[in-house]
Symmetry: C2
Subunit: 190 residues, 2 copies
DNA sequence: TGAAATTTGTTGGATAAACAACACTGGAGC
DNA sequence: GCTCCAGTGTTGTTTATCCAACAAATTTCA
């Protein structure tokens, strides 16, 4: 979640990572995650297979990195990464997750069960980390774990619900209706 | 001119060369060749400057490679690289050079004197090599050097003339008129 | 003009990527 | 059951790229 303090990274590793991630992204648009092999990725990325394993433990770690990176971009685009808890920010976070899941579904060829639940785990981790960051800035002595967990699951659930709707209602309307139910649990941090 | 017999090249080498060439191409669209430094190229290509010198002697060698590669593509697109001399092929060659110079002028920001004459040298070498290849397939005992030289200069001159015209006549018309003057010198190889 | 800054071309040592093996797993077909 | 095949994950070695430093040439500009 935190953008690392501008560490200078060897251009070779930046290049390799970005080649692998781009190839993976292209492949996801073509076929299902389960049918993608490490071979496929390294072939398309024009990178040696051994090099892949120097960067990622396996294709699941790759998926995790890929999804995390995309989600972080969505968050940073809305400057939600360096702020604190307010109902307004919470609303924008919910919107971000909704839009993220929607575009993910339209960009990926065959979102099957395994794929979806892997994405779910990754995104919920990201949401939880972000919320924890927000809540701890209130310097409260209250533990943030429980509220953050509840909110995380609620937010993801809402976004999942929204993004699976065939005929989606206007996002604004949807979020306005849902926001209070989540906000009530975080009231003490406002 | 000849496509090397499918040598397997280290992916890193291919990658680096292509990064450098692409960066150079982009820079040429922005500013004049004389004002482009090796620094500029390696910065844009995200490649170390020392690595540049492992591939090219200097920026003039880079320009030569770049122009040669573009021209070879133009030739291969018209399958003129694996054939012999006929007036028809000669006509297509003239057309190719005309179009190449035209697009070069429209893609490069500031075609100054030095740039133009460097391109001229590179292209004339390419034309000469191609013509020599064509003429030697006739297995004649006649030396091909003189006729190939004359034709090379004539062709480049025509294309240069054509591409500098503000209001260009139809390429077909122009070439039809010019072709006989060049072909007459190569008659003995037809 | 002359001093300062930029660019060039080169070097030696450090590191990432390529490559060619290897043993292992799991599934498909017989 | 069995073999065969495709994919996995790892290893040792070689090679390309990175990096920081350097002297020399060139450009800038006061």
């Amino acid at each position: 979640m935190l953008p690392k303090p501008k560490e200078k990274l060897d251009p070779r590793v930046k290049r390799t990572r970005s080649l692998i991630l781009q190839a993976f992204s292209d492949l996801l648009a073509e076929k299902g995650f389960e049918s993608i092999t490490v071979q496929d990725v390294t072939d398309k990325a024009q990178v040696n297979r051994a090099t892949f394993y120097a960067h990622f433990a396996d294709k699941y770690a790759l998926l995790d990195s890929f999804i995390s990176q995309l989600f972080r971009q969505e968050i940073e685009k809305r400057t939600l990464n360096a702020c604190h808890y307010t109902p307004e920010n919470l609303k924008n976070l919910i919107i971000a997750v909704c839009e993220f899941l929607s575009t993910t579904h339209s960009n990926c060829a065959q979102p099957h069960q395994q794929f979806e639940s892997l994405v779910e785990g990754t995104i919920k981790n990201q949401i939880f980390e972000l919320l924890t960051l927000w809540l701890q800035q209130t310097k409260t002595k209250i533990s943030t774990d429980i509220p953050a967990t509840v909110a995380t699951w609620a937010i993801y659930g809402l976004a999942s619900h929204y993004s699976h709707h065939k005929k989606r209602p206007a996002l604004e309307t949807f979020v306005d209706e849902a926001l209070p139910l989540v906000a009530i649990n975080l009231e003490q941090f406002a």
